[in-house]
Symmetry: C2
Subunit: 180 residues, 2 copies
C-alpha cells in the first residue's frame, strides 16, 4: 500500500503496538501517544519514554514497526502494555506471529490490521519530552479478513470500539486530494 | 475538571476543533493531527501549518482552545475544515457559541464535550514540521447531556463513531494510577 495512505490508519487515533528488534529477542509494547505529523512523505510523532523497555532499543537501532491491532486483540493489547520485555518474551507469551519486515529489522505483527515500518527522523524533542518523529518507509495492510474495527484507549483501561461510519466525503471540497 | 484528566479526552484520538482569538474575530479550525505528550502536567503535541488561517494567530498569541465535538456536530466539523477564517466568520456561520475561557483569550465552544485551554510550551519543531507542543492550563467537561460519542477521522472524509466500550481496567496492573 502506498506510504501516503498511512494517515488513514493513524489519524483515527487507534491504540497501537510498537515492535523493535532487540539483541536477544523482538520487543513489543503498547502505545497511545502518537499522531500523524505529515501526510506525504508520511511522518509520525510518538512518545516512548525511558520507562518503556523498548526506549533504549529504539534509540540504538533507530527503527521500529507500528502495528494497528483489531478489536479481537483488546486483551492482548492491554496485557502487552502491563508487563515488560525485561521479564517476558512477549511474542511467545501472547502467541503473536513476527513476520520479516522489508526495510527494518523490527518485525511485523501478522495478527494486526496494518503494519508501518518506520525509521527515526528527528530526536530533537526526545530528551525533553520523549517525543520521536518517525518517517514511514513501508506500509502494509493485512489482506486477511480480520474484523476491521479498531480500538481507542480512553486513557483509563476502557476502550471505545469503532461503531458506525459516517461518510462526509462530498463535503471535503477543500481537501479533495485526501479522498480515494 | 483536573488538568491531569486531559488524556481521557485526547488519547482516544477524536477529531477536534481549535479556537484562537484573532484581532477581528474568533477563529476556529478542524484538526486531526494531535496527541498527548505527557499526562501531568498535561502536554499536547499538534500540527497546525501555514496553510491554516489560525497558524499566524497561534504563533502570535501563543494560546488556543482545543474542543472535542460530539457526533452531532459531524457535518459542522467537516465544513469548518473546508473553509477559511480568511473568508468566513465561522462561529456565526456555523451557529457555534463562543464562551469566555479562564486563562486564554481564545473562546471555548459551548456545543463541545470538552474544552482544553492551552498555551504554547515549545516551538522548536514548528519551522520544520509545524509541530507545536502545548501545555494545558484548564480542562472543561460539558455538564449538559450531550451525546458523548466522539468522531474519529479516517483521513478521507469518513468518520468512525464511538461504538461499544470494552472495560479492561482490571488488567491495568502496571498503570493503576490511570484508573479513576
Amino acid at each position: 500500500v502506498p506510504v501516503s495512505k498511512t494517515h488513514q490508519w493513524l489519524e483515527p487515533g487507534p491504540i497501537v503496538l510498537v515492535t523493535t528488534a532487540g539483541r536477544r529477542a523482538h520487543n513489543i509494547m503498547t502505545m497511545g501517544f502518537h499522531m500523524m505529523v505529515q501526510h506525504d512523505p508520511a511522518l509520525i510523532g510518538c512518545v516512548i519514554g525511558p520507562w518503556d523497555f523498548s526506549y533504549n532499543v529504539l534509540r540504538k537501532t533507530k527503527e521500529c514497526v507500528i502495528a494497528v491491532p483489531p478489536v479481537s486483540l483488546a486483551r492482548t493489547v492491554v496485557d502487552i502494555g502491563n508487563c515488560s520485555g525485561e521479564d517476558v518474551e512477549k511474542f511467545e507469551q501472547f502467541k503473536l506471529t513476527p513476520l520479516q519486515a522489508k526495510t527494518v529489522a523490527a518485525p511485523l505483527v501478522a495478527e494486526c490490521l496494518a503494519n508501518i515500518e518506520c525509521r527515526i527522523e528527528d530526536t530533537r524533542l526526545v530528551n525533553r519530552y520523549n517525543l520521536f518523529v518517525l518517517r514511514v518507509s513501508v506500509l502494509w495492510a493485512n489482506r486477511k479478513r480480520l474484523d476491521p474495527r479498531k480500538l481507542h484507549h480512553n486513557g483509563d483501561g476502557t476502550f471505545s470500539v469503532d461503531g458506525r461510519t459516517i461518510d462526509l466525503r462530498e463535503r471535503m471540497v477543500k481537501w479533495r486530494e485526501l479522498i480515494d
